[in-house]
Subunit: 390 residues, 4 copies
């Protein structure tokens, strides 16, 4: 064995004041596989420079724009240039930057959603199909060990045939007109930056993606109502749907940003003929398993914990009782992405949601918007071409 | 003051092997306001006799049929005859017995649902309107102190204008074909005994009634899907609906008896502009209040507990930390019913759900069935005439 | 079979304003086995009369004193006179009334503690030994189904040899000088009425009794510190002890009435070589079992619940998810007491704590007081003669 | 502003198979302030090399011994050599390495405990007093935001004068003779490597340090019993103590590694005249505050969360509901340590436990051992000279 070099990354977006950029930096730092070598953090030159310097970058690799960054980095020697781009801009730039980066020869790790429309996501999928570059999508919640455990238990048939799925994602932070003074709220409620949906695009897609991941099944039809509760807000801030899956389960999906008092309460419950499962993002290290006719049991995350599958154990860093959380979940995606880069996987990084997940998310948003605007009861969710393994 | 006599009651239904009859006996015994003086517990003569004797009844007041009981008791001296009938039969007898009892001059305390159809409930309502007899409906969950507290806080405007309501009632006990060997399951899944709906009639009505009670608002429209998951079962065992209320709130109602591993997990969450509330039947002595912009707080049931309204305090028997539960909740209904009898209230017993609640429940079931069978998105819930105070 | 008559009881103490008298009345009413036929509720004549009348008693059986009651009732025909006395006076009367009642031929069901000193309890034990009358002691917490389940699991060896026991009982209601205006607090802090200990007598004995019951073992040695935190208070309001048991376990016992904000948080944890158990009185329907090397599981109270022993199931009235609580726990003691009366058991009512438990409690209080006043580390808990089965 | 360089660190200990070395690497990676430049990870040459290479080190800076590392690094140019040493060896090397590193001019960040005896810790303290080098001690749990919040609330007097403190740390992982096959267990139970105490040194010190930190008070006296439950084990694996503090509070401290089924359940409860606080390490993002006479409230960790003090907010990276855990807590210590290095603080790094905490821990272990071996009731905890701010 010889020295294992860090993977060189550049970041686009994530200047001071942005939420998710810092999250990505914590996450990729956690396991030590990455080294930030360049960035284009903000269109505001001062913010851009300050962010880059605070992150230890040399001035010549703090770029004024993402276009300049892709162009200049491509000219550097292979052993120096960045290997992958981390995209943490508002949504409308996700596809343009991703496509340009892939075409310039860089891997891409992109904050979700993949795109602002299904068509745009499909265009990106087409580009990826012709490329050997890796594309990872930060569906952070799919990095939690016990989400993998839940999926494993469903796949193994421990619950029997699945009948019901209830997935919910209530938040409260947009209960008031937060967009007037909060940058995060502002772009998330602007259709030009966020896409056609607010709440469903921002968090509904997480609920949807979590359900499809755990079930290894597709939500094929839904009946939705979206709402906008705050005067002057331009996108939905709340909604719910009855849902049906390809394998015959049914249930409810809800997502809301006006549940005053709720923090980030993503939760999924799945019930089959033989038992049920419940997982809550805010207490992510417990997975409740209720086998029919037995006391319920609680599987706990952690190294060496009893009852966990290999995929779950591989995503733990500490023994049980040393809580790991949101940043560790995202770090798990980065670590799998690093492995994919190093082992020269192509297209889809094993363990990391990819464009397949992105397409599903876009199809979901489209179906929610269409259903909400219609008097017909059921709407199909488009049957997107490629299926994400994760 | 002189000696306070107990209220003399007779019970119809509730022979050995029935669940809810025993519950009623525990509940009315708890506060000592009632004395069982007669009964017609079962069409099975041996069961009937044995039940009556085990309850300390003299043989001559253990009647072979409810008709005989009403007839014979009516002939006894006023100071001896029963004053009220407790009805704990399968659903299809609720109205026939109620009507006969009221017409024979007795008060009625009836297990829910009030009827097996809206028309039948309306007929009973018509009878009640012309009578001065009391009619109480055992919507047990409306006897919990913190349900009253939640309603109080909504009414006082502590949450601001209500935007969202999520009410759910998952159970798991009918995950398998329980009706083959379980008497409770058997009649509940027989349309001739239970009415047109299984799960929605049995527990959906509880969820619905709880939501309307807490909100002091009506669910006016819904979009539902009902399901039957077990082969050969004749009624729905599961379902969910998007709902809208008269005052402009929206949300989700779900009820299921095939959520394997769930016990009796009735839960309501309400969110307004200024905060949220959450109450769970299985931990009934806590009410979570999340005022926007403050740490959430937990109101606790119990004598003298801080923050409770008078209606909540009046429904507690012990100081905080001495858990009261389901039987105490039903006892609270009986205690209010006793007060109504003693104070010669008429028609509606203060604090006890009445025929108004019964009508609402029937209208709900009708709307759920109609919606589930339709491709139209929204169905109106019938605007029943009389509004239950509770 | 013939009509099952109710057991006729008289109550001593429990006038308006008392806490525990009402609790007993709720509890014995719950299962319908008892009928109150007389009482001497208060030395205050008006209170006495009013209490009796509100409970439906005839004036001639509302007695001015407990002495009068015993004397008069003894003269009534056997089929009319009370069969058992319920004692809910302050502590100092427990033994005098118990002895007099037993000698007058009545069964006794007494609120705990059994006595105000070990010697006094021993005197009562001597009386009982020569009598065929039943004596039950209201160690309410020993009526909970899952306490029996915990004991069963320890006895069955599911935890292996027991190493550790932690039992705690924090309350907060005496954090301030409550005795100035609260009758409950007043007599509990008066050595003439409560005995030599405040907190340890009132609630420490519950913790102690729970530990010995679950372990089926005796606490043989302890090292304690008692404290009085409120100026002017005459008895301890707080304390803790290191403890050792006869079978070689060790641990901690704590009880306090100055843990501001705590309600009634009795809790026990037991750990053996093969696993642990945890039970909390404030969530009494769950028992956590942690078998070493497996996910922990939660046993739940309720009819038909999986994993419960017969003794636990027999103490449930409703299916899982219909919470039963404190009053039901005490009702379980009354129901076992009724069975003992009817089946003419003598001395010790099966399932009900008796004088053995009473002696243990007194020995515990003595040891705590002695240890707290000493500079020696370990004190023996007296090895009381008779062992309570429950 | 100019580019902010990372702080160059070397690691001693932490080869493959060690637990805590990896934890430190995750923790210092999280906020991106550090760069590992060298290491001496294991006396096993292969393990040492492999660990170093997997961490991206050049071979010439993977040293065969810690002595060699200090010597060689000291010879490198200031701009290249490591600035600080991270010590993650077994306990017996903590002081020898710390002293040598400080004398060689390096800052030290050391895993706890500081030493294997009070005398050894004092010797280190003497060295530090004469040096301007920084010394940080990884009392990880003192990095949690809500631990700072709890301390703040006590300091602000929100609980009034403190009466009671209960701190406990039950684990179950040493319930069996784990040391036969588990390297972590092996050295922790070897007096030559771990020091004179097993459980108290390993986790009791955490409980002790947490209590003194939250209370801003000293535990001055204790009465302890230590136990060894597993045959052949050479150090205590369990124990408890009654405790008294300098300001007059009292309570209980317990720590055990044989509570089968427990993971890592460090918990503290504090009660004052006006209310109580409870914090649990396994649910670290909630702090329960029970003000007397009000419903209890739950303070929640997270950026911008209501009710948090500045010290707590500064230790959060994400908004409420995005759980942060153990690695983030340790990262908080590293981040404060980085700030101290950059701002040229000396001796004590603000926000990071230092030798003062180390001395307290040693004094605690000494007192626990002495008390456990004595028949006298109370033992003093040595009044160590310097007080840690944190």
């Amino acid at each position: 064995m010889s020295k294992q070099a860090k993977i060189r990354i550049g970041m686009i977006g994530g200047g001071a004041g942005a939420f998710i950029g810092a999250v990505h930096r914590h996450a990729y730092g956690l396991d030590g596989d990455f080294e930030l070598v360049c960035g284009a953090f903000s269109r505001d030159a001062a913010n851009n420079l300050q962010t880059g310097e605070s992150l230890g970058l040399d001035n010549e690799r703090i770029y004024a724009s993402w276009q300049q960054m892709l162009e200049q980095e491509a000219k550097l020697p292979k052993s120096v240039q960045m290997q992958a781009v981390v995209i943490v801009t508002p949504n409308h730039l996700h596809v343009p930057v991703s496509v340009a980066a892939i075409e310039a020869g860089f891997h891409v790790f992109c904050e979700k959603p993949a795109a602002v429309s299904l068509a745009e996501a499909q265009a990106l999928a087409d580009v990826l199909e012709k490329s050997d570059r890796l594309y990872g999508l930060a569906h952070t919640y799919l990095g939690y060990p016990l989400v993998w455990q839940a999926r494993h238990m469903v796949q193994e048939g421990l619950l029997g045939s699945i009948r019901k799925v209830y997935v919910e994602y209530p938040q409260g932070w947009l209960s008031q007109e937060e967009e007037l003074h909060n940058k995060q709220a502002s772009w998330r409620t602007d259709p030009n930056l966020a896409g056609g949906s607010g709440c469903m695009g921002d968090i509904g897609t997480h609920a949807f993606g979590l359900a499809e991941f755990v079930l290894t099944d597709r939500i094929t039809e839904l009946c939705a109502e979206l709402k906008t509760h705050v005067d002057g807000r331009r996108l939905d801030d709340d909604g719910a749907a009855l849902i049906r899956t390809g394998k015959g389960a049914s249930g409810v999906l809800l997502a809301s940003q006006v549940c005053a008092g709720e923090e980030n309460a993503l939760k999924i419950r799945v019930y089959g003929e033989k038992g049920g499962l419940e997982w809550r993002q805010m207490e992510p290290n417990s997975l409740i398993h209720s086998p029919a006719g037995e006391p319920f049991r609680v599987l706990r995350a952690g190294l060496g914990q009893p009852g966990l599958c290999q995929d779950a154990l591989a995503r733990c860093r500490t023994p049980g009782g040393h809580p790991e959380g949101y940043l560790e979940a995202m770090a798990n995606l980065y670590t799998d992405f690093a492995r994919a880069v190093r082992s020269k996987q192509s297209g889809k990084a094993e363990g990391v949601p990819g464009i397949g997940s992105g397409l599903r998310g876009m199809a979901f948003i489209d179906a929610m918007l269409a259903s909400s605007n219609s008097n017909e009861k059921w709407h199909k969710v488009a049957d997107t071409r490629c299926v994400s393994k994760a």
